[in-house]
Amino acid sequence: MTTLAAAVRAPLTTERRHLAAVTFIVIGLINIAVFGVLAHAGDAAFELSLASASVKIPVIRVPAAPVCYALGAVAVGLGVLRLTVPFSRLAKRLAIVGVLVCFLLSLLCWADAGAIPLNVIIISQGTFTESIPLILGALAGCLCERSGVINIAIEGQLLFGAFTAAIVASAFGGLWVGLVAGSLAGGLVGVLLAVFAISFLTDQIVLGVVLNVLVLGMTDYLYDRLMSQNPNYNTGITFGSLKIPGLSEIPIIGPIFFDSTVFLYITYAAIIVIQVALFHSRWGLRVRAVGEHPTAADTVGISVLWIRYRNVILGGLVAGIGGAYLTIGSVGSFIPDISSGFGYIALAALIFGRWTPLGALGAALLFGFCEEMALVLPTVNPVLPAPIMNMAPYVATIIAVAGLVGKVRPPKADGQPYVKA
């Protein structure tokens, strides 16, 4: 059976090795031939501190074209290396990260050549804030799917969290109450997902899609009924920035990581806790056992259904926080369909990140960065029309998924309801 499986899978894997290498080289050549050659003469300048910072760091100026050439050469080199030398798993992933960083840096150099300085701090802050709902959504998916329940309802969890957080925070005037309510709302969608998927054995893809439709319909309806008729239910209050004393004064790192709303700190905590819990604790071992081979887990006395229930609901709570961010963490007021596909992008980040919290974090950040660039670049260098720039995050994801990551292996029992024999 194993030999058969190997034979069946063989053609794809040999091709994959070349594919990744070729993608590296192509990206390197783009760095050189597109960004390097087309860059305006002059330097690209990067500011590394905010205007309000106490310690100023001098603006970094680099000649745009040569830097693009150099970064391109690094990417091509990595590609050639990948083609000739067998890489370890870690090296493969580091190489992917390296090539992407080269690409993004030369993109920045090209865009900024001869223009006003780009503020790296602002871009980084934007990247993180754009990514928060994606990261939390992907973490929710990770919790569910590692225990063997497919979660397409992330979108619905975000949306319901956003709605509930806005209405509760407005009605009670309490942001923290809103945050908790948003999380619970996500959890409620999680409960529905769990009951139908685990107890009623509903097809989980169908279920996820349907829950999204339901939540969209319900929030549209409630928005019509409650919010649009009574602005007191949608006042648009938001969390303010919460500086961490001391840490936020560190140059570069401080403003990026320690000067944001409470949501960013919750996100850090969630990433670390879930990554450690899933891969370095007995708890996580059990969860993964249930997601990979529920029968075996059941045999050694783990309660499969309980673990699935718990994880799906936990996931919903996490996604609900991400939803709350969309309203009380950023824009304040709820509008219909405010999640606008974030849940699906989080799902893509989860798959792209191979069902690990750190992988999903990387994918979400890549996406957030592209999104931020689409906002920032037209202001510095209006070479490309906005709609084309808006495509960047999606195109980047397709390239990354098709060219760099390829076939991913989900948890073995993902999507299969467990019925005790």
């Binding site: 439709v213 893509a348 998924v401 991913v408 989900p410």
Partner: protein, 457 residues
């Protein structure tokens, strides 16, 4: 749906082993053939040689055949929807606040409110009795069919995107990208519609083919990436949706591309008159020839899936890619081909809208046809005939929802229809719940099992 009882799991898995050796197996059941009905029943003592039709019907009801489950699911969804309708009516909520003093008043008010909303929905979408009496007093006979005609018109694009999602499901792929493929078809159809001048009938056909190709290219790309690089179709289709929206926005904001001259909005020129699809029932809110195209497409897909080698390969790949590969089926080719067809069907859906009803592409034209296609395909159990029926149901709900919103002066918002749609599919997908609620005896699975496949598919 209204087919023969018990649409069990796809027959392909059971027959793969024996049929793989002889690809064009003649005895392959078409839709819900006798084999499946037989699968759902064996070993049940209650069904022991029930010869009388009456006995069969009673058995179907007590055990919950898929038809019965679907009807009960719709009923249950309407009950939940009734709560929402009652909640939206201020008269009803006020009546309930005095429930303990005047309980009957609260109940009658609720009944009035709900029955009014649902009867309005029915009159708007299916049949309005007052049109019949009007016809006797000199009114037009066509008015009697007006609601049904609008329902069919609304159903047309839903059936086509539903088929797009359904055919991919049958090959084990989840096509979330019908929306992007729709846009691809719409762009090509629009461009051919106003940018090219051709003789009348040929223009229509060229536009239709163009729309099919426009969608098919997007679908093909997804299948190609999956086959060549292993990129998961769910990610690629989601991302392509956004890429296509942005592309559409770009094209519609440049007069040299698709924008109507002297416009600041994102709007394309009207397509030429001779590129419009002929009306069957009447002008746009009513049904056009697009509906016939949708039904023909459903029949073609049904034929392809059940009567051809290619269709058999699709279903085998959908049941188990590794088994299909072992049996010598080119799995990658099937993925590419099925996504190409899925994209083409979504493109045709765009043609039905652009050439049939809207005659003009705007940025908002894509609406919710893509996501609705998923629910339609799921409700239709990924079977072409089921998709047509599900599309008609959803078309009726859309028409009825708009009608009821107007009839109640916005008191019952059309959003309620979306909730109803979600609930119907949810309940159909959870037969165990329906059985529990209505105390039906349990039998082997008759739900939506094995329609959609997870990431491992």
């Amino acid at each position: 749906m209204t087919e023969t009882p018990a649409t069990g799991p796809d027959p392909a898995p059971a027959s793969t082993g024996s049929a793989a050796a002889q690809p064009a197996e003649p005895a392959e059941p078409a839709e819900a053939g006798p084999t499946e009905a037989g699968q759902a029943e064996p070993g049940k003592p209650a069904g022991s040689r029930a010869r009388l039709t009456g006995a069969v019907i009673i058995q179907a009801i007590t055990q919950g055949s898929s038809t019965v489950i679907t009807i009960l699911a719709i009923f249950l969804a309407l009950v939940v929807g009734a709560i929402l309708i009652a909640f939206s009516d201020p008269v009803v909520t006020k009546a309930w606040s005095t429930f303990f003093s005047y309980p009957f008043y609260a109940l009658t008010q609720t009944w009035d409110s709900v029955s009014f909303a649902y009867s309005q929905m029915f009159e708007g979408a299916i049949f309005n009795p007052s049109t019949v009496s009007a016809a006797f007093h000199g009114g037009s006979i066509a008015a009697i069919f007006y609601p049904l005609s609008s329902t069919c018109a609304q159903a047309t694009p839903l059936i086509l995107t539903g088929l797009s999602v359904a055919i991919a499901f049958r090959a084990g792929l989840f096509n979330i990208g019908a929306a992007g493929q729709w846009v691809g078809g719409a762009i090509v159809a629009t461009w051919l519609g106003f940018g090219v001048s051709l003789p009348p009938v040929i223009h229509v056909i060229v536009c239709l083919i163009g729309a099919f190709v426009g969608g098919a290219v997007i679908g093909w790309f997804v299948g190609f990436l999956k086959a060549r690089t292993g990129a998961h179709e769910v990610i690629v289709t989601i991302m392509l949706n956004y890429v296509m929206y942005d592309l559409l926005s770009y094209l519609l904001s440049h007069p040299t591309m698709l924008q109507q001259p002297h416009q600041t909005n994102e709007i394309a020129p009207f397509i030429a008159n001779d590129a419009n699809l002929a009306h069957v029932g009447g002008p746009p809110p009513q049904v056009g020839i697009g509906f016939l195209i949708a039904v023909a497409a459903a029949l073609a897909v049904a034929w392809l899936l059940s009567r051809t080698t290619t269709g058999f390969q699709f279903r085998t790949v959908g049941a188990s890619p590794s088994a299909a590969r072992t049996a010598g089926i080119n799995v990658e080719r099937s993925w590419i081909l099925v996504m190409l067809l899925a994209g083409g069907l979504a493109g045709l859906s765009a043609a039905a809208v652009i050439q049939g009803t809207n005659t003009q592409l705007t940025f908002n034209s894509y609406g919710t046809y893509g996501p609705d296609g998923i629910t339609v395909a799921l409700l239709g159990r990924a079977r072409p005939i089921g998709v047509v029926l599900a599309g008609l149901l959803f078309g009726a709900l859309h028409v009825g929802g708009t009608y009821v919103e107007a009839a109640t002066l916005g008191q019952v918002p059309a959003d309620i229809v979306q909730v109803l749609e979600g609930l119907i599919v949810l309940f159909v997908a959870a037969p165990a719940l329906i059985r529990a609620v209505f105390r039906l005896r349990s039998t082997a699975g008759t739900g939506l099992e094995a329609v959609a496949k997870g990431w491992n598919g």
